[in-house]
Symmetry: C2
Subunit: 159 residues, 2 copies
């Protein structure tokens, strides 16, 4: 049951998208994924990549992935945001998730970033416990505000 963590390549984006869709399906929002394989290939591997990935490979199959990108703290400086960490359902419990997590933290350490950040659902106690065990803090008083494409368009019309 060996697996290998390596940097994601353009040719992995089909498998990466499959993992993204598996998670969206699990979260009962299969139609919320409008990103295509071509989008991921263009956005992650152009002249100014918008993200990087690590993938977990097992028996020539991509069974997990972590997707992240730089952010910036006006107090601390360069940071990393971990957007997604997904392990396919049939391969959970093999420490693939924690290996991907460690790889991202290690990457951030090597880059000298001031912070690594991600979001977690407030009821996901197993995840929160894991994060805290590794030294992360969970900020319960900050909420995420979002304006989606439709709302942006509507707001622009009021200006």
């Amino acid at each position: 049951m060996g697996f290998k963590i390596r940097e994601g390549k353009k040719t992995d984006m089909f498998s990466v998208l499959k993992l993204i869709k598996e998670l969206a399906h699990f979260e009962k929002e299969p139609d919320a994924v409008i990103v295509s394989k071509e989008d991921l290939e263009r956005d992650g591997f152009g002249s100014a990549p918008l993200f990087k990935t690590f993938v977990a490979e097992m028996d020539n199959d991509i069974v997990g992935m972590a997707l992240f990108y730089p952010r910036y703290s006006t107090w601390k400086g360069p940071t990393i945001h971990l957007e997604d960490l997904i392990v396919t359902k049939s391969k959970r419990g093999l420490n693939i998730g924690s290996a991907l997590y460690a790889k991202v933290i290690e990457y951030g350490f090597n880059q000298g970033v001031k912070r690594i950040e991600w979001v977690v659902l407030d009821w996901n106690k197993p995840a929160i416990d894991f994060y805290k065990k590794t030294g992360a803090v969970v900020l319960e008083d900050w909420n995420t505000a979002q304006m989606n494409e439709d709302a942006i368009k509507k707001y622009i019309e009021t200006l």
Copy 2:
């Protein structure tokens, strides 16, 4: 009492840092700001800038700023994160904040991003009300997890 919103330049970073420090002081964390003017100049105006700013200018003085950068949603694609929006205390109530906010949303609209995102303290009702009025949603069940530089180092040592 006229003001002008324009894109921030390298030479504005002294004033931008002053606003960042004013806010940190107000939040009773003046020592939390370790970023320097030189850091902002390098990180925002190098070959791969980590952020962009809009500034509000009034009587040849920078009285407000919005700092933002690209992020990526694995469901939607390219997004923008609004990291900071600050108006100096003596110039509040003149709609400078909402003008900076509108400028960022307009920028995102012109870039064709799928979402604009930021965080808000859950007790900051005036801010939340304003955001909702403009079409944003506030996700109360997502919390931010962070590992800071010290925690990263300690965690790496356990691997």
